[in-house]
C-alpha cells in the first residue's frame, strides 16, 4: 500500500466533513480507524522504502520515505490518535464539532512522519501548526484562546525561521530531498557557514514545535487549557511527529557545531522543565512541564547523534506518548469528577478509584524511569549515551531525574494517601469503558516492553540506525545514481 493514502484519506474526508456537517463525527471515526489499520498493517509489510509523488522521481520530486523508524512511529501515532478520538466519543460533541481540524491534523502528522522533502515538511508543519493552534483554542473560557494566540505567534515565527533555513540550504545545495542533502552535507560540498546558519534557523523553527528551550514558552498554557481530546492529541501524538521531524532533519543536514548546541539546549530544557514541574500544584501543569522535560531529553539524545543515543531517543519518545496519553486521560477524569486537580482534590483518589490509581502508578513510574517499565530501558540508553560528551552532562541529567522521581512519587502518594476510616465506605468509582480499554492496552504495552529481553529492542535499534545511517545511505545511492 502506498503510504500516501495515510495522508490522502483523512484530507479528503476533511473536505467531506467540512461540507456535510451531519456526518462529520462519523467521518472522523472512519478516517481514524482507516489510518490506524493502514498504519499497522499497510506499512509494516512494506519493503520498498521510497515513494515518489506525482510521478516525479527523487530527487527532483517529493518523495515519501518509509524506513524502520517510520514503521515504528506511524502505527503508534495513528493508534494513539484513534484512541484519543474514541475516548470522548460519548461525552459531548467536541470531536464532531472540530472534526475537520482533527482530520487535517491527522493528515499533516502522517505527512510529517512520512515526507522526505524539506519544503514538503514545511507545508505539513504549517498545516499541523494551524490545526494545533485551533485545537489549542478548544478549551473553555478565554484562557485557552490567549494560550492559542501565543502559540500562534511563536509558531508562525518558528515556521518562518525554518523556511528561511530551508531556503538558504536550497540555494546552496540545489535540492530539497533530505536524503540527498544528507549525502551532500556529509561529503562537505556545502560551505560550513551555510550549514551553520541554516541549521541554526532550522533548530529554532523545529524547536518551537518540539518544545525545545527557549522556544517552548507556549507549552504550559496550551496543554493546560485546551479541551480533552485536543490535549490528548497535542500531548501524545504531536510530540511523536515533531520530535521525529527534528531528528530526521537535523541528523541529515545538521552542522556538527549546531548538534553540540542542541545537546546544550536539550539538557537545559530537561533541567528547567523538571525544576519548574517540581513546584507545580496542579497535576495538569506538572504534566505539561514534564512533557517539556521529556522532549528535551529526546532532543538531547538526538544531538549526541550516535545510534545508541537515538535508540534511547525513540524509546523515550514512544514511552512519553503512551504514558502521557494515560496521565492526561486520568487528569481529565479527575477534573470531570471534581472540577479541579490540585493536591487536596486528589487526596486518596486512587483508593476510591483503584483502576485509575493503578494506571497512574504505571504511567508515572514509566516516565520516572523505574525498572519493570518501558521508560527505564530508554533512560538507561539515555544515561549511557550522555557519557559520550562531557562529564557534566550526566550529572545534570541525573539531578533532573532525581527531581522528577521525587515529584512523581509525591503525586502517586497523593493519589494513594490513606484516607480516614470515615471515607473508606464511599462507593468505588468506575472509570469509563474507553478509559478501561485503552488504559489496559497501554499499560500492558508499557509493562511488556519493560520486562522483555533485549531482543525486543532490536526494532528500536534498527529505527535509530535508519535515522543515523540509513538516510545518508539512501542519499549516497541517489547521488551515485545521478
Amino acid at each position: 500500500m502506498n503510504p500516501v493514502w495515510l495522508i490522502a484519506i483523512p484530507l479528503a474526508l476533511a473536505f467531506v466533513s467540512a461540507f456535510w456537517r451531519s456526518v462529520s463525527g462519523w467521518v472522523l471515526i472512519i478516517a481514524a480507524f482507516f489510518n490506524a489499520f493502514a498504519g499497522v498493517f499497510g506499512v509494516m509489510s512494506l519493503t520498498v522504502t521510497s515513494f515518489s509523488i506525482g510521478g516525479w522521481k527523487a530527487p527532483y520530486g517529493i518523495s515519501l520515505l518509509v524506513n524502520d523508524a517510520t514503521k515504528l512511529l506511524l502505527p503508534v501515532a495513528n493508534i494513539l490518535f484513534l484512541f484519543a478520538v474514541l475516548s470522548y466519543l460519548r461525552k459531548g460533541g467536541e470531536t464532531a464539532r472540530y472534526s475537520v481540524v482533527f482530520l487535517v491534523a491527522l493528515a499533516s502528522l502522517n505527512g510529517i512522519l512520512l515526507t522526505n522533502d524539506l519544503f514538503n515538511l514545511f507545508v505539513f508543519l504549517e498545516i499541523a501548526g494551524i490545526t494545533a493552534y485551533l485545537l489549542a483554542s478548544t478549551g473553555e473560557g478565554s484562557g485557552s484562546k490567549v494560550a492559542s494566540f501565543k502559540y500562534l505567534i511563536i509558531g508562525s515565527v518558528g515556521s518562518l525561521l525554518y523556511l528561511l533555513g530551508v531556503a538558504i540550504l536550497y540555494g546552496a545545495a540545489g535540492t530539497l530531498n533530505i536524503s540527498e542533502l544528507a549525502a551532500r552535507v556529509s561529503s562537505g560540498q556545502i560551505s560550513g557557514d551555510v550549514t551553520l546558519v541554516s541549521s541554526l534557523l532550522i533548530v529554532a523553527g523545529l524547536g518551537v514545535e518540539s518544545k525545545l528551550l527557549p522556544f517552548n514558552g507556549w507549552v504550559p498554557d496550551v496543554l493546560t487549557k485546551s479541551s480533552r481530546v485536543a490535549t490528548l492529541v497535542l500531548a501524545s501524538v504531536y510530540p511523536l511527529a515533531m520530535v521525529y521531524a527534528f531528528s530526521k532533519v537535523l541528523l541529515a543536514v545538521g552542522d556538527d557545531r549546531v548538534l553540540n548546541l542542541v545537546v546544550l539546549l536539550g539538557i537545559a530544557t530537561v533541567l528547567v522543565g523538571e525544576v519548574i514541574a517540581f513546584g507545580q500544584k496542579s497535576l495538569r501543569r506538572t504534566l505539561a512541564y514534564s512533557s517539556i522535560a521529556q522532549s528535551g531529553l529526546a532532543i538531547f539524545l538526538v544531538g549526541v547523534g550516535s545510534v545508541e543515543s537515538v535508540t534511547g531517543s525513540i524509546m523515550l519518545l514512544i514511552n512519553n506518548a503512551l504514558s502521557k496519553f494515560m496521565l492526561f486521560s486520568i487528569d481529565d477524569q479527575v477534573i470531570d469528577e471534581a472540577g479541579r486537580d490540585d493536591r487536596d482534590t486528589l487526596y486518596g483518589y486512587g483508593r476510591k478509584s483503584p483502576i485509575v490509581g493503578v494506571t497512574f502508578v504505571i504511567s508515572a513510574l514509566s516516565i520516572a524511569g523505574m525498572p519493570l517499565f518501558f521508560g527505564f530501558r530508554g533512560k538507561l540508553n539515555a544515561i549511557s549515551a550522555s557519557f559520550d560528551t562531557s562529564l557534566a552532562v550526566p550529572v545534570v541529567i541525573l539531578v533532573a531525574a532525581a527531581i522528577e522521581v521525587t515529584y512523581y512519587f509525591r503525586w502517586i502518594f497523593t493519589f494513594f494517601n490513606p484516607v480516614g476510616t470515615s471515607q473508606v465506605t464511599e462507593k468505588r468509582m468506575l472509570p469509563s469503558v474507553e478509559f478501561l480499554a485503552f488504559g489496559l492496552v497501554l499499560s500492558t504495552v508499557i509493562v511488556f516492553l519493560g520486562v522483555s529481553s533485549g531482543e525486543a529492542f532490536t526494532m528500536f535499534e534498527r529505527a535509530a540506525d535508519s535515522l543515523v545511517n540509513g538516510v545518508l545511505a539512501i542519499g549516497k545511492a541517489i547521488l551515485g545514481g545521478m
Partner: protein, 610 residues
C-alpha cells in the same frame, strides 16, 4: 533449580498472589509465606556453590549477571531469613491484595539484588525493591505519605548517584561486573577511582540510612505497616551492606587509594567514610534516646547500627571486616526481632507510643523475652551475638589507633543501653494500665518466628565461630585475612574470647539467682492503686508509670543540637523558588519574550559557534 528459576518464580508470583488474594486473602498470604520459607531453605542449604549465570538483555551491550558465590550466599541467607520469618509473622495482621503484591515484588527485587554479579543488575533489582517498598509504606497510616516522600527523594539521590557510577565505570573500564571491575580499576587514574567510590558511597549511605542521608529512616520505618518494618530495617538496609562490602573490600579500595595521604594505616578517603559512619553512630544513639514512639526509636537505632557497619567495612582490616559482616547478621536479627516484638504489642494494644503502655511483661512474657534478647544484642552484651561483632570492631579500632572512631563506637554501645531500655521500661516493665487488663500474648504464629530469631541470636552468641567461619570463607575468597577461630574461641589482638566459657559462667550465675528466687519468700501481689508515690496516694493509674520523657535531663542536654531533618524540605523549597524564577524568565506571559529569546539564542549561538 537454579537462581534464575527462583528469581523468575519470585517475579511471576507477585501478580499470582495478587489474583489469589482477591479471592481469599489468607490463602495468598500463606502461599507467600510458604514460598519465602522454601526460597530461604533452598538458598541457605544448597547455595554457596559459586555458580554464575548470564542472561541476555538489559541493553544491547549489558546483560544481567547472577552468581552464587559465598558473598551472595551470605547476604541472600540473611535477607531471606528476615523476609521469611516476617512473612510467617505477618499472618494475623491486616491483609490486602495490594500489600501481598508489593511484598512479593520487594522480595523478588531483594533476591535479584543479592544474587547479582554486576553493578547494573544489582541496581535494577534494588530499584524494583525500592519503588515497591515506597508504595508499600503508604498503605496503612495517614502520616506515611509525608514521610515516604523523604525516602523517595533520598533514594532517588542514591540511585542516580549509583547509576552515574555504573555508566562511568562502563565508559572507563568497559565492564560493570564485580570481578572485572576489581581487576581493572587499579590501573585507572586516582580521580576516576575517587569518583566511582564517592558515587557508590552516596548510594550506600542513602540506602543504609547512615549520616548524612539518614533523615528518612525515622518516618518511613515508623509509619510503615507493622509487618513491613522488620523487612525494611532488617532486610533491605542490608543490601546497602552488600554494596558497601563490594566497593570497599572486594574492590581494592585500600590499594587504589594507597597513594593518598594515610591516617593510621587507612587511606584518607576510607577514613572520611568511616568518620561519617562514626557520626552516624553518635547521631543515631542520641536521637534514639529522645524518641517517644517505639518504632521511631528503633529506626534511629538502625541509623546507629548502620553507622557501625559503615565504620567497620570502611576501615578494613581482618577484624573490622569480620566484625562488620557479623554486625550485618546481628543487626538484621536484632532489628527484625525488635520490630516484630513492637508489632506484636501493637497488634494487641493498638499503639506504639511507649508512655501509653506499661507492665505488659505479665501479659506478654514471650514477646518480652524476644525483645529483651534483641536489645541485649544491640547493646553488645554477651552471651548474645551482638557482642562478638562489636568486640571484633573494637579490636580493629585499637590496632589501628583510631581514638575518635573508637570513642564513637564506645559511645554508641553505652548510649544504646539507654535507648534500648526505654521501650523495655515503658512497654513491658512498670505498671499495667487498666485498659490493658485483657491483653493476651501474641498468637503462636507471631511468636514462632520471633522466638526463632531470638534463639539464633543466642546461638551465634554462644557459638560465634559458626558464623565467623562462614565469614572467613568470604574474606578468603576475596583475598583478605581470616580470623582465628576454634570451636568456642575467637583469637584476636588483645586476647581471646571464649564464648562457651563465658556462657557457662552466665548460666551458673543465672542458676544461682534462680535458686535464691525459688528459696525466697513469694512476693505478695497487690492491686495497682494500692500504692503511694512521692508521699502521696494517687488515684490515676498513669501516674504510677514513669516513662514519658524518662530521659528528660538528657533531652535538655541535646535539645539545641543542630538537626539535619530540615535539609530536605529546605532543598525542596529552594528548588521551587528556582522553578518560579525559571518560569518567569522562560515561560513569561508575554509572547514578545518568547520571540526575544528566540532571536537572542540564534544570534548568540551563531556568534559563539562561528
Amino acid at each position: 533449580m537454579s537462581i534464575l528459576f527462583v528469581l523468575a518464580a519470585s517475579l511471576f508470583a507477585a501478580p499470582l498472589f495478587f489474583l489469589v488474594s482477591k479471592l481469599k486473602k489468607s490463602v495468598a498470604y500463606m502461599a507467600y509465606a510458604a514460598f519465602q520459607v522454601l526460597v530461604f531453605l533452598y538458598v541457605f542449604f544448597w547455595g554457596g556453590t559459586g555458580s554464575s549465570y548470564e542472561v541476555v538483555g538489559i541493553t544491547s551491550k549489558l546483560n544481567f549477571n547472577f552468581s552464587m558465590t559465598s558473598v551472595n550466599w551470605f547476604f541472600a541467607s540473611i535477607v531471606m531469613l528476615i523476609i521469611s520469618t516476617t512473612a510467617v509473622f505477618m499472618f494475623p495482621l491486616k491483609k490486602s491484595p495490594v500489600k501481598v503484591f508489593l511484598l512479593s515484588l520487594v522480595t523478588a527485587g531483594a533476591l535479584g539484588a543479592v544474587f547479582s554479579a554486576d553493578f547494573l543488575t544489582l541496581m535494577i533489582f534494588w530499584e524494583i525493591s525500592t519503588w515497591s517498598s515506597l508504595l508499600l509504606i503508604i498503605q496503612d497510616k495517614e502520616k506515611s505519605t509525608g514521610e515516604a516522600i523523604k525516602y523517595a527523594a533520598i533514594a532517588a539521590v542514591g540511585s542516580y548517584s549509583m547509576l552515574f557510577a555504573i555508566f562511568y565505570m562502563d565508559s572507563r573500564l568497559g565492564t560493570v561486573e564485580f570481578s572485572s571491575v576489581a581487576l581493572k580499576i587499579e590501573s585507572q587514574p586516582i580521580g576516576v577511582q575517587l569518583t566511582i567510590f564517592i558515587a557508590l558511597a552516596i548510594m550506600v549511605l542513602a540506602k543504609m540510612g547512615s549520616f548524612p542521608l539518614h533523615t528518612w529512616l525515622r518516618g518511613s520505618h515508623s509509619s510503615a505497616p507493622d509487618e513491613f518494618s522488620p523487612i525494611l530495617s532488617g532486610g533491605l538496609t542490608k543490601l546497602g551492606g552488600f554494596l558497601l562490602f563490594i566497593m570497599s573490600i572486594a574492590l581494592p579500595s585500600f590499594k587504589g587509594f594507597g597513594n593518598l595521604p594515610i591516617l593510621n594505616g587507612i587511606p584518607i578517603v576510607n577514613y572520611g567514610f568511616a568518620l561519617l559512619g562514626g557520626i552516624s553512630i553518635v547521631v543515631g544513639t542520641v536521637m534514639a534516646i529522645r524518641m517517644e514512639d517505639a518504632k521511631e526509636l528503633i529506626a534511629f537505632s538502625t541509623v546507629s547500627n548502620s553507622g557501625y557497619i559503615v565504620l567497620a567495612l570502611s576501615i578494613g582490616g581482618t577484624y573490622a571486616t569480620a566484625g562488620g559482616m557479623m554486625h550485618i547478621l546481628n543487626h538484621a536479627l536484632a532489628s527484625a526481632a525488635m520490630f516484630m516484638a513492637i508489632a506484636a504489642v501493637a497488634y494487641r494494644t493498638r499503639t506504639t507510643k511507649m508512655h501509653e503502655m506499661g507492665g505488659l511483661i505479665v501479659k506478654m512474657p514471650v514477646t518480652f523475652a524476644v525483645y529483651l534478647v534483641a536489645i541485649i544484642s544491640v547493646a553488645g552484651i554477651p552471651p548474645t551475638s551482638g557482642f562478638v561483632s562489636k568486640w571484633l570492631i573494637y579490636q580493629q579500632l585499637v590496632e589501628n589507633g583510631l581514638p575518635f572512631l573508637a570513642f564513637a563506637a564506645f559511645f554508641g554501645s553505652i548510649g544504646s543501653f539507654m535507648y534500648v531500655f526505654k521501650p523495655l521500661a515503658g512497654i513491658f516493665l512498670g505498671q499495667l494500665k487498666p485498659e490493658h487488663e485483657k491483653v493476651r500474648e501474641a498468637p503462636l504464629i507471631m511468636l514462632a518466628p520471633m522466638t526463632l530469631l531470638t534463639l539464633l541470636t543466642i546461638f551465634w552468641g554462644v557459638f560465634p565461630s559458626n558464623a565467623i567461619r562462614s565469614i572467613n570463607r568470604i574474606t578468603e575468597s576475596i583475598g583478605g585475612g581470616t580470623v582465628d577461630v576454634t570451636f568456642s574461641r575467637i583469637v584476636a589482638l588483645t586476647g581471646e574470647w571464649d564464648s562457651v566459657l563465658v556462657t557457662t559462667v552466665f548460666a551458673i550465675g543465672f542458676a544461682i539467682s534462680l535458686l535464691i528466687f525459688i528459696r525466697a519468700k513469694r512476693a505478695r501481689k497487690v492491686d495497682l492503686l494500692d500504692n503511694y508515690t512521692g508521699g502521696d496516694f494517687l488515684y490515676t493509674a498513669e501516674l504510677y508509670h514513669f516513662s514519658y520523657r524518662m530521659y528528660r535531663p538528657f533531652d535538655r542536654l541535646f535539645e539545641k543540637w543542630p538537626s539535619m531533618e530540615n535539609w530536605l524540605s529546605s532543598t525542596s523549597e529552594k528548588i521551587k523558588e528556582l522553578g518560579a524564577l525559571l518560569k518567569a524568565v522562560f515561560f513569561n506571559r508575554n509572547p514578545q519574550v518568547y520571540i526575544a529569546l528566540t532571536v537572542i539564542v540564534i544570534l548568540g549561538a551563531f556568534w559563539w559557534l562561528r
